[in-house]
């Protein structure tokens, strides 16, 4: 059997919640349905073995679990499992929601936390506000309210300006009354960032240092992210690095810092000048440093590293060598040596886009990492289309 016949074994999630897709997930077709049970077994065992391997255990365990659930569905008459389809954001929540009324602050805390963790942000905010009316003197409840708004602001949920402003006011009062409350500072900076009030965050930074003697890492990261959106971007990256240095073994901090650095790098896309090549590379090297040692974060940064390394490369049109990378050493750092005879740089080709008779662009656009890096980036040539062009029919790039 050829390699490609086994592709289904490596598919992590079914692409739709239908029986046909569930069967395809187990290689039916090309196998016939009589082989279903065997295929399920083989796939489960393959992913089981991966889940005990030296890396990627989390993903493998997740897939193994999906295999089990789909086995139940296909062979044991269960219903199609929830939240397993590729791209679905559906999260399973097994915890029961506590009763909607509360008579103590403790109950209120529990309820708001449960609502937030289920993504019911507006209800969480409204419930916390009810608490605020009931216990207007309680700092704990004040923090809870602004925390609920801040948590919602960190997601795709659209928080109303009224809620944001009220929460900012509330947390400002808390930070005045309880200047050593670490959560309150985090909340306040998150809320200011969500409202785009970056100048105030900069003032906040100095104030926190004065009150706490330093900036706690979660707040440091909020400020770093805010700075990325201001002309003070490089200082933001410095802070991201500081956050990682504070505990180099913390994968969560590395993830957060690396995504901040990627956001910064994306500000230089599309690359349209030599200066941007340098800046993009600088930001990507920060991302790479932040991601260092955490495989799942390194995977995220990798396409950017590849583009940083190659964007200024020259493409020799008509050379076969371009297509002939077979196995090539990775992650080299390439020092450009100026060549007066040079053809175009890769970034120029991407910037200029497809034009008649120019095959280089199509060759480049076939490289997935280049498209990944530029997802959502606007090009002149892209105009109103959302997707990159396919190569012209009948053109053989090899």
């Amino acid at each position: 059997m050829s390699e490609s016949n086994h592709d289904w074994m490596f598919v992590e999630r079914p692409s739709a919640a239908t029986r046909v897709e569930a069967l395809k997930y187990f290689g039916v077709p090309p196998s016939s349905e009589t082989e279903l049970a065997t295929n399920i077994n083989t796939k489960r065992r393959r992913w089981h073995s991966r889940s005990n391997g030296p890396g990627g255990a989390e993903i493998a365990k997740l897939v193994k679990d999906i295999v089990r659930q789909l086995e139940d569905y296909l062979l044991k008459g269960g219903s199609f499992p929830e939240g397993v389809v590729a791209g679905s954001q559906a999260q399973q929540q097994s915890r029961q929601l506590p009763p909607p009324n509360f008579s103590s602050i403790e109950q209120l805390l529990e309820l708001v936390e449960a609502l937030t963790s289920r993504g019911q942000y507006q209800r969480a905010i409204d419930t916390a506000r009810e608490g605020l009316n009931k216990w207007p003197e309680s700092t704990e409840v004040a923090i809870l309210f602004s925390f609920a708004v801040a948590s919602a602001a960190g997601t795709e949920f659209q928080v109303s300006n009224a809620d944001l402003n009220e929460a900012i006011r509330t947390s400002q009062i808390v930070t005045q009354n309880e200047p050593t409350n670490v959560t309150a500072w985090w909340t306040l900076s998150t809320l200011l960032a969500a409202s785009g009030r970056y100048e105030e965050i900069l003032l906040l930074e100095a104030e926190i240092v004065r009150k706490l003697g330093g900036i706690p890492v979660p707040t440091l990261l909020v400020i770093a992210r805010a700075l990325i959106r201001t002309p003070d971007m490089w200082r933001g990256l410095e802070m991201a690095l500081r956050a990682v240095e504070s505990d180099p073994t913390d994968a969560g901090i590395r993830l957060e810092s690396a995504t901040i650095a990627i956001e910064a790098a994306r500000k230089f896309l599309p690359i349209d000048s030599a200066e941007k090549v340098t800046d993009f590379r600088k930001a990507v090297s920060v991302a790479a440093w932040c991601a260092h040692g955490v495989a799942s974060v390194e995977v995220l940064v990798r396409p950017f590293r590849m583009w940083a390394e190659r964007c200024d490369d020259k493409m020799f049109t008509g050379s076969h060598r371009f297509r002939s990378f077979v196995s090539i050493i990775t992650l080299f750092i390439w020092l450009p040596i100026h060549n007066a005879q040079a053809n175009k740089r890769l970034w120029e080709i991407v910037l200029n886009g497809p034009s008649d008779g120019q095959l280089e662009f199509y060759a480049l656009s076939e490289m997935k990492y280049i498209q990944d890096v530029h997802a959502g980036i606007k090009f002149m040539w892209l105009e109103n289309r959302i997707s990159w062009p396919q190569k012209p029919i009948g053109v053989d790039l090899n």
């Binding site: 065992r45 391997g53 990378f325 196995s327």
Partner: protein
Amino acid sequence: MSEIVGIDLGTTNSVVAWTDQNGRTEIIAGPEGSRIVPSVVYFDPEGGIIVGERATQFSVIEPTRAARLFKRGMGLNSFLNNGEKFTVDGKTWSPEELSSLVLKKLVTHASSHLRQEIKRVVITVPAYFGEPERAATRLAGEIAGLEVVRILNEPTAAAIAHGIDQRGQQSRMLVFDLGGGTFDVTVMDIASDGGMTVVATGGDRQLGGADFDAMILEQMADEIDLKFALDLTEDLYAFVDARNKAEEIKKDLSAMQTAQRPLTIGGKPFMFQLSRANFESMIAQQIGDIRDTVMNTLEMAGGGTGGIDEVLMVGGSSRIPIFSSLLKEITGKEPIFSRNLDEDVAKGAAILAAKLRGDASPQSFIDSIPLPVDVASHGLGVSLLEGEKMVNRVIIPSGSRIPASGEIEAFTITDDQMQLQLELNEGDEVDIQFVRKLGESLGNFPKPRPMSHPIRISMSYDADQMIQVKAFDGKTGDFICEINLKHETLLSMSERDKARDFLKGLDFE
């Protein structure tokens, strides 16, 4: 010649053994007479440190001052369920440091029993342990001030101990080792002279008796919630007591069809009962996982399920009856239990220690048994770009006999390439997501190279489990860069020395 002892450093229990020049092995008991030392460390509020059985007792009273199951965190940052570090009185203890305390205790017993200071040891590890976990085990020994003469795989140790009674036959053996925290399956070929070669290993670093206890504990909590509307996890003492009872019930069920224990919750008594059938359905998922691992390992070994001549059961949890039925069903062979199931691993380590000491009398069997052949339990490879995809290209596949070496050719990726980065990975998978990066290094070409210029990468893995990767210019032979992996762990050298000095000054029993 200075003495060497063998140590089984287990997740739940540890054992030290010694073999004399005539090949007679004894398990060394502590002053309290116990041959098995629980791998538990208790930190008393006065600053004293207690290891073993007494630590287990204190851990019931003050669970947050006791560390257990730390072998699961070897080479990682944390062994606690919540991913946090174990901290007591403001000091954080790494799994390596905690293990070194257990080692120190065992070696103290051995020293007073043998009336000389023991400085050298053979320590066993699960066969499925990767490089970082093995390095962490060596480090634990170093922190305890010991020279770790050899790291030996637990199944091999068990097979050595088992094999000395039945030599003379050539056979293929499956060793099923299910302990307190780890699970190992090993298929090995035993030659007629007793020489052993591992053919395939599989396992799970995070599966063992402690997980079965947790399942029972969960059931207890559910019933208590249902009956009294109380949360067992909120009451620390009731919780720890229940956890111990859960283990007792589990052990009872290996001999009986039902078992029960009284629990106390919120001052109320409660009799918890469990049948063997219910227990088995509770751990159905783990049984399924274990079956899959056994099948995968047999497949890797080749020769199918029928090719196994003997099945040896090792580790306390292999006493659970469903596992012997499972293995009988798969292999068609009646599994063998050794008489001293809990001591065989240490015994095998002691025999190897005696062999390495080199002073065995010519009449003893020790002189005649060959040294076991080690194999790499995971593949070793380097990251390469293939097309536009980063892949792991394996140079030394799992199952290779150690010492092993290999070489591949790679190419530069662009014109005027000046540098290259080498990444060493552990794992046999091509997909980079499923391997673990062990090290990296950056080097320069003597001068810029054109695209597709060849690069030679060689790798070696020697008997001391030291890994070396080197890259050379494929045309000129110039050296570019290398990775040397020896005792690299999460602790830096200075941290290690600090830990060792700290340990020296400790008052501990």
